[in-house]
Amino acid sequence: MSFINPVKRGYLALETWFNISFGHQWNPLYNLGTLTFFFFWIILISGLYLFIFFDSTLMGAYSSVEYMTNEQWYAAGVMRSLHRYASDAAIITILLHMFREFALDRYRGFRWFSWVTGVPTLWFVVTLGITGYWLVWDELALYVAILSSQLMDGLPLLPGTMSRNFLAEQINDRFFTLMAFLHLLGQPVILVFALWFHVKRLSGVSIMAPRGLAIGTFVALVILSLIAPAVSHDPADVTQTPAILNIDWFYLNIYPLLDYWTAGQVWMLTIGISVFLMLMPWLPKKKQDEVARVFLDHCNGCEQCAKDCPFDAITVQKRTDGARWENEVVVHDNLCASCGICVGSCPSSNPFRHSEQSLITGIDMPNSPINDVRDQVDAEIERVNKSSSDSDNKIIVFGCDNALDFKGLESSNTGIIKYYCVGMIPPTMVEYALKKGADGVFITGCRTGDCYFRHGNQWMDERFDGDRKPILRKRAERARINVFRAVETECKELKAELDRFQQKLSSMQKETESVDSDLVESDIVESNIIESDIVENKNGEA
């Protein structure tokens, strides 16, 4: 078994726990992005409701929030708590999202763009939360306002000292309205753009959490809001400094640092961490295989690869080679993840084509061309045929290179073929392996709901179910195909699953032999009867 670093091992254990609790479909760790979006929806809707009752004046803000919290606790109070707790929960899911991508090494290589744009997006979320605390205008709001100003004063951008404005009580309604505008409109719009950039290089992005997970999370948030409603501190008073503040550590964690450090030092820390995070994809850079190449002579412009590409790296354009087809596809090298899913999508990847000559498909991976894969399948079937007895079941394993280590499965009766992703396997290749003499095809891939290349598992399932082109034809016997999805830590389960598959194939073999022998016996009996009839007839004639 290959080495798995402890961070990844720990994370995978957590993922397993959630799979046990929620199942693959609702596993929160597979849905951290959509869960964060779900929290944003709650924040948006609750925020709109709160805005109805919020008085955006210096004198009226606190009392309006108090009214919502105490007088209308059953509606606006709950909304306020939902607004607060959903914001906090979003920070947890964002941090978990970052940790997950780090632990699974999904932040480097072609994923650098999403990682890098994620860092400022986190900044926008945090600053949006901070301005939200200003609007309550309680002791905590004043603390946040003064310390935020001190931080701004630490930047060599603005002359003067902003912090003094709060001491001299120079804050007026207009400034407060400006803050409300920032929080309610300005920052959310910036955040929407940041999120758009963050997912720009992904296709088929979902912003809706699975229904069951969304319902469960919402119910939990409502219960928390009823049990522990969000409340304010005393009203802001510049002549008082409360000894104890219940600060929101999700958003205000850097402020206490100002007790020990200067604003400049706090900026150096936060900017330093941010820059380090943004440089992480190149520390060190991840090697990536060569990107996909289009072979126009074998491309009919069906666009299936463009539809299936998980990273929007393939676009369709008008034909440039004068062929009779209307369109052709183009691969954008800087966006391509080298996942090979496009090869699995291409109808020209059919290994039954040009069986006597080199197989060239419409779109292929230079380092693992489909012709080489077909040759490997031929070679492995030939090898297992030679090295195993007739009674052994010959199995071809198609293994995803980004899931668990399957190389240990190779044996006298089991041949292995490596793929970048299960989505790269053309369904016809499975059929081809069975046709060429394999008794079974065993496919290993990433855990359900957690494909390394996002859509590989889903596309393969849909192709095998006949819901997505190119489909697995019915002539490929489904019982002889086994799909196993797991992570690196589940090698024992992988071996056990292969053994079960072997047994299943053996029992299928016995059933077949038994049916065959029954047929032979009945043929013999039938022929005996016919023969005796003939003898009787002959005797009668005589």
């Binding site: 609790s21 929620f22 002549t239 206490p256």
Partner: protein
């Protein structure tokens, strides 16, 4: 996994998650001040005096300059550093020499300093010098004051308002 087991596990997970959300949204409490402490903010935005006085230019000196640069008075831009001290019951609790900002040291200085002090009756003394040509305090203020626990006392300097104010 059996749903009978799965649902309790989900409830457990949601409870842990919401527990984390609730806890870190208000706890652990942040102690801004210790018991019986108050906060003094010592602050000012001020421009020191010019380091050297303006000098009247002679005719010869003016003729050496380009026509558009000829001004009757030559005023060096550099400002004096601002020296300040704050004592509480004769104990020095803040002392600072603020250098003028800018490439030519011709800008003002900004001070915003928080100092935690014990509550009680105190005697405060503060002074400021904003002119290198003068030795010792130019502005000063002292008074007895009762500072309550958690009070935020602001000592502000504004030359336009005659110097220090305490409130």
């Amino acid at each position: 996994m059996n749903k009978i087991i799965r649902y309790p596990l989900q409830i457990l997970n949601y409870s842990i998650f919401m527990g984390l959300v609730w806890y870190f949204s208000i706890l652990p409490p942040y102690h801004q001040l210790d018991e019986g402490e108050a906060l003094i903010t010592y602050t000012m935005s001020h421009v020191g005096k010019h380091v050297t006085e303006c000098k009247k230019m002679s005719y010869e000196e003016l003729m050496k300059l380009a026509p558009n640069m000829r001004k009757p008075m030559d005023c060096p831009r550099e400002r004096s550093p601002v020296v300040m001290e704050l004592k509480l019951d004769d104990e020095l609790i803040f002392s600072h020499t603020a250098q003028p900002l800018g490439l030519y040291k011709d800008q003002g200085i900004d001070i915003y300093q928080n100092i935690k002090v014990p509550a009680g009756t105190h005697h405060i003394q503060t002074w400021l010098n904003d002119d290198v040509k003068v030795e010792g305090p130019i502005y000063q203020h002292e008074q007895d004051i009762v500072i309550k626990p958690e009070q935020h006392l602001i000592i502000q300097f504004d030359s336009g308002k005659g110097g220090f104010t305490v409130k």
